[in-house]
Symmetry: C2
Amino acid sequence: MGDAAVERVSPVDRERRAEIADLLEQLAVLAVRQLGRRDISMTAASALGRLAREGPARLTALAADEGVSQPAMTQLVQRLTKQGLMARVADPDDGRAVLVSITDAGRRLLAERRRDRVARLSDLLAALPPEDQTTLAAAVDSAAPALRRLVAAATDLGGRSAPPAG
Amino acid sequence: MGDAAVERVSPVDRERRAEIADLLEQLAVLAVRQLGRRDISMTAASALGRLAREGPARLTALAADEGVSQPAMTQLVQRLTKQGLMARVADPDDGRAVLVSITDAGRRLLAERRRDRVARLSDLLAALPPEDQTTLAAAVDSAAPALRRLVAAATDLGGRSAPPAG
DNA sequence: TATTGTTATACTCTATAACTATA
DNA sequence: TATAGTTATAGAGTATAACAATA
């Protein structure tokens, strides 16, 4: 389905879409393996980032955004709260609900992870021929806004891999 | 360190490196969440891909390439063998060693995953304004070879996150 | 002795099912 | 009844340590 829907209108032909999809997969592996840290999980880092950007959220909303089940998010929040990276308060407007927020320690951890990521990417880039570095810089300059919209659109669509909420 | 080493010679300035690092992280999350499947793990898919591209390999070599411990790879190969996606034969030249290969079913699974990935990316691209699609296509055209060299260089460096071999 | 791989054990992260408490 | 969240339980995936077999 993903195909016929696009075939007639897309300025990006089929072969190029396949090329992009393959590159994205390899870049994802690279990002996780070479730029990632193993101190907290990808879901944990992503949830912390969301709380840092958008403020406190309900546990259910976090679970939906991160594409994991509610029990999984309950446990994630428990772990990160124990580590001092998140904090939980009861929702004053709804006795059933919990509001989760990021702590200062959580923000510091995110900043530290970002520094690591940039440093490791710098090492990878430095190993490339200068022409490649120039090419990549130019491509990023031209494509960054479109890439950000791609990421935003994907996030809005909601994690397709999200399990049913209950 | 990753910084000072590059600062003087890189054609990519510090701010742009940070931008690339951030984009890569978000793209990785997007690729895993929106383009990925949960039938097998990222490590399993990557190991299968390696066997498909480069032929049979020793278990130790696979573990090193995928950045996991030898026991983890033993168990991964056991699981995938039980699922019929990999096969194991004794190395005729070394009584200690095992040669792992991909089966036809494994190749079919990889092909299926790739089709899914392309279809899902097509849906994501279709949700973007046509100008963005054109921009991304042009950027990929110009940057794809450099990106492939980046991935290759990173792979050669060996998973930084690889645990000690034993 | 060194290398290849397995077994034993434990921890993280995830899911589904069953439950409690509030709306 | 429906929603928000927790507890119980189980499986995948990972690590380290200790082991067996071969080089």
